[in-house]
């Protein structure tokens, strides 16, 4: 394949991935790695390197808008970034020592799990049972977000559990070159009982810093190749910017089901190729 053709096709594919990733809230990274590995026969290491830098671009672009709206809790984000960045370095170091087939199998499992998480009905949280712990008060993590009738305060729970899950999210991000937003949301929404909108926007806020922590390791190992990363970053960035604009006009429920089905199919394909040693 010529450079021109490869660049054009990867640019178009990443644009669609970024567009659908922004619309569904799943992020483009989960599709970009399988796209590069399965369709374009790119080595897994190049694929996760290019995906990781595109994740920094799309999340930072979206964070600017969310920060203006006031939904992200920068203190919770900053505190939990200690866990995600250490996890990310651990993940990137593990990635160098396991076979690409193993990475493909883990990737497939994470894809299927992410699809499950996004399709499940969002559970309504019970009213906070206990007063905020001393830990939460010392870190002044509690906050408020813009509701329909002025600022709505919320409380933070089970910080140590959330912190541990965040370490796992960081490890997956560094190992697989994805933002692992689904696991970050799980930590804040399920473990720490934060409002859903606060969880998703704060998760997005943390993705860039988490990815930057493993990007240093990736760069030094040669995983970040300019010829692949250029169309992936530009395509995913443009797609996600467009996705954020049309987000309010489309019914996301149907789209989410379709996108999740695609992700499950890609996950099965990744696992199959991993076990047969083709990736």
């Amino acid at each position: 394949m010529s450079v021109l053709l490869f660049t054009s096709l990867v640019l178009a594919g990443s644009f669609i991935a970024g567009f659908l990733g922004a619309l569904t809230g799943l992020g483009g990274g989960v599709v970009i790695v399988p796209l590069l590995a399965l369709v374009f026969h790119v080595d897994m290491r190049y694929a996760i390197g290019a995906s990781l830098v595109s994740v920094i671009a799309t999340s930072s672009g979206a964070a600017a808008a969310y920060l203006r709206e006031g939904f992200s809790n920068i203190r919770i984000g900053m505190f939990l970034e200690i866990a995600t960045t250490i996890g990310a370095i651990a993940g990137a170091l593990i990635a160098a020592h396991v076979s690409t087939s193993t990475i493909a199998i883990i990737f497939g499992a994470v894809l299927i799990y992410s699809a499950y998480l996004s399709l499940r009905r969002q559970p309504v949280h019970a009213a906070p049972a206990q007063p905020p712990s001393r830990f939460v008060r010392a870190l002044h993590l509690d906050g408020s977000y813009p509701g329909e009738h002025g600022p709505e305060p919320y409380a933070v729970h089970r910080v140590p559990l959330g912190f541990s899950v965040m370490f796992g999210a960081g490890t997956l991000s560094g190992l697989l070159g994805i933002g692992s937003g689904a696991v970050k949301v799980l930590a804040m929404d399920q473990a720490m009982r934060l409002p859903f909108k606060v969880s998703t926007t704060t998760s997005n806020f943390m993705i860039g810093v988490t990815a930057a922590a493993s990007a240093g390791v990736y760069l030094a190992r040669g995983y970040i190749d300019p010829g692949i990363a250029m169309p992936v970053v530009l395509g995913a960035l443009a797609g996600s910017m467009l996705g954020a604009r049309v987000l309010v006009q489309v019914r996301t429920r149907t789209l989410r089901i379709v996108f999740s089905a695609v992700i499950v199919a890609l996950g099965v394909e990744m696992i199959y190729n991993g076990f047969t040693g083709r990736l």
Binding site: M1, R68, I74, A220, I228, M230
Partner: protein, 135 residues
């Protein structure tokens, strides 16, 4: 409620202002790096557009663009790949700049606990970018 508690310092550096500036910083970083990547991409495509490429085998371990010094040597030759890589380096630096900005902002807010937490994150990032990269 807690928002008012946070703003009791009565300084002009409240959380809302920090969030606004942080958002602008991130957007500027992304746009700047995208512009550099586009420039590098054009140089790269003009020079190598018709070359045949395959990424089936991993050869990144010997790439000169793995280090900052290698990237700058490439820039001296006006290499398209090196310009793209510089753009990607700026992209990686964008969230790091956000963390540095957070440390300064929390210092202006006199929130020393968060200055310490932010510096911890910065130390981890520096380990990755300078320490682990040396292995």
């Amino acid at each position: 409620m807690s928002t008012t508690a946070k703003n009791t310092h009565r300084s002009e550096w409240n959380d809302q202002r920090i969030e606004l500036l942080m958002g602008r910083l991130l957007r500027a970083g992304v746009l700047l790096s995208a512009a550099v990547v586009i420039l590098g991409g054009m140089v790269y495509l003009v020079r190598h557009g018709h070359a045949v490429v395959s990424y089936r085998d991993f050869r990144g371990g010997s790439s000169p663009l793995r280090s900052v010094s290698g990237i700058f040597r490439g820039l001296a030759r006006f290499s398209g790949s090196a310009i793209i890589q510089l753009g990607l380096l700026l992209l990686i630096a964008t969230p790091v700049a956000r963390v540095v900005f957070s440390a300064v902002a929390f210092l202006r807010e006199r929130d020393y606990l968060y200055v310490a937490l932010t510096l911890t994150v910065l130390a981890v990032l520096c380990y990755s970018l300078f320490g682990a990269a040396g292995h």
